[in-house]
Amino acid sequence: MGWSHPLDSSTFGGAIKMNMDKKYQIGKFYFAILGLIVLGFGIVELLLALTGGCIEHGPMIISDEEDFLLWRGLILFFAGAFYISSFKKFSDIHQQAKMLMASLMIWLIGGIAILGMILGSIPGPEDGAWFNTAEDFIASYVGPYIPSLLLLPFSLVAIYYVYLNKKTKIIINE
């Protein structure tokens, strides 16, 4: 049996590579679309922070009365730009890093919003009982939510690509 490159398309490794290429191709478009949406939300948040006002639609709210709207808008804007800029050569490690950092930026905002919700749901109201009642506890998790919180589940796909990246590295090293 002659020697063949592990990623040669005529071998088993090659088949895996083709499969991975397909996955990276899907990821490339997924994050480009997600990037456009994130960028859009960032622009809306920035505009509302500068001009004032409130948009409430379904489970989502963007209001200038919330703290740090301008700051959050800027972060979302850059996160969106990072996703979009990772489109070219998506499987390259540096582009993957950009995609992951964009997701991390969303996780930071969304994660702290969730932490704030959890911490806010435990104590009772001012001048009231020490702890919240069961109904109020549950009620504090009911929306509307900020855009980053709604975008958070979609950004979790990045974890799959980190895993895929690790797998690709193992195959190449083998």
Partner: protein, 423 residues
Amino acid sequence: MVLSVDERWDLIDKISKQTVTFGEYRHTLKDAIAEITVKPLTGIPIALAVLYGFWAFFGAVAGFFTDGFFVKLFGGTEGFTGWISWLGEQFPDKSGWLFYTLVGDPKVFAADYAGDICFEAGGVLTSGLFVAIGVVLPAIFAFYLFLIILEDSGYLPRLAVLIDTVLHKIGLHGFAVVPMILGLGCNVPAVAATRNLETKKERFMMMTLLAIFIPCGAQIGVMLEVIPEYVGWVMLYLFLGFFIFGFILNKIIPGRSPEMLLDVPPYRMPTVRNVSRKLWSRMRGFLTIAVPFVLLGVLLVNVLYLLGVIEWLANSFEPLLTGWFGVPKETVTPLITAFMRKDLAVAQLGAIEMSVAQLITSVVLVSLYFPCVATFAMIIKEGMQDRVKGVITFLIGSLLILLAVVFVWGGLIRWILPLLGVQ
């Protein structure tokens, strides 16, 4: 046995063949992330997100403990007499000086009093304890927890590299970010951290700017309680001042600002064991320094008040306070307290009746006007390294800068706020 040169080289070859593995190094995801966090184009947006996380985490955690539980514990709630009211009821002589000093102003304990008893009682064992334990402690806990995670993950040195170019414009280098961020927790370790800076010029500038423009975590914690909606603007104004006066100081102070050479460690996952140990060590250090100063500060102010010193000072400084800074003369009390504890001073400001613009100006003044006594002592201690003559020159220089900043930057905000629509 003596080996010839060729034999030695052969031996080296054999050893290296057995011990060294040669191959192509492939960039890992960790390497790529490390790279993009120090490149300005990608690093600055990431830094923005990290600092947002820092700030929002600080607000959420500190608010949870203070508003959720400590306000109730000290001020009381449904079916529970808080510590302050209980002490007021139990204390024997309500008209004596001891009551005023330890428990607070008797009018706050009247049945029909509608104000915020936690901040407004003013006694050593009431508001003093509330500020130290109920407000400052949760704020410091949240601050140090996040800071330690950033330190242990390896992000802080990258932030230093990233901000190096900006800080060079004001005669500092990237390492200055460490005392800057530490100062947002407590200025005392921040002043100690200026030892990282190489030249006398850098150390003098950093200590002066820290003492004037960087509010400590305790003060930010109280600011979030008293003026939550304006904290961002106050911080922005102070940071702007930091860079503008830093730029001016860099031009007028002789000395050099060398380039930075920094070995950046790889990213690592912080361990619970290390984080908890460091957190405990810093919290303990803070508690032993801060709590006695808070209580001493309240005691001193109450004694000065009883002796009529505060009223005399308020009347003497009235033209300056009302004329130039546009704040009420009652601001004198918090300004005196600020020398002991700035957090306590901000809490006292919350109890004075004034407009929003006056409140913001007063908070800025408290931040600018003088470092707290613990920071002041630390500055003298650090300055001593340059011998006594050096300390005197250092202090006179710092005080002159301080006076100029208070008058210019403290007075300017009075005219800026109406332009922004804040009355």
